[in-house]
Amino acid sequence: MVQSPSRSGHPPIQQLQTIADLLNTPALARLYAHILQRGPITVSEIIDELDIPQGTAYDYVENLETAGLVEKTRDQRPYKYDVESITLTLSTDGETQTITPALIAAVARRDKDKDIEVYIERHGLDGLAVALEYAGEYVDGTVNHRIAARELDLSPLEAEIILQALEPVASEYADAIA
């Protein structure tokens, strides 16, 4: 079952495909997270700030716009873009996971933060999503690495590493995660 509160009128399955791309393509996730953080923003500003090739940036923005994940906020050139905040809840037999902008922002860091990269390799994106919830509580001070380690079945050291790696994302999206 797929649920997406789609204010934009874009169908959930089409959004699902683009979100799958977001999760599989760190550069695309980075661009999405950047628009989320800095939007409304023009494509040339994105190119300057993220240092990605011009063609790639335009392609990515176009894909995101087609899927309804970003929208033009200015109809004259230079166009400015802002994101439609998404949450997508996936349920498979007995397991539910929600894909949020914070998760996409965490994935966006995997190229630059090898601790996140290794964690995804070891525990998958589902593992990362759960760790991100703990990172929110870690930032609030309600959970420490030992509690997270016990509940996530990690060593305390691995828990501390991923909690610290996710800390910037958890802080930035504190309202959204809680």
């Binding site: 601790d115 290794v118 070891r122 690495h145 060593s155 050291l157 501390e160």
Partner: protein, 70 residues
Amino acid sequence: MKTAYIADTGVFVRCGGPDKDKFQRLRRALQQADVSLRIPQRVYEELGGDPAADEYPSGNMPYPDGFEEG
């Protein structure tokens, strides 16, 4: 009265190993203040006890040299 400084695992994960700038800054600050950090046995074990953590760049830290084991 004597003050003891006790450090938890997170401090060492945050600082990284001796090749990291943060580690050097911590060491310098401790030397200047003429204090040493005490670490509980549990922290000592956490820092060295997980082979899986070696895969992580931040997991690769040697036992903190010069710190007293509590």
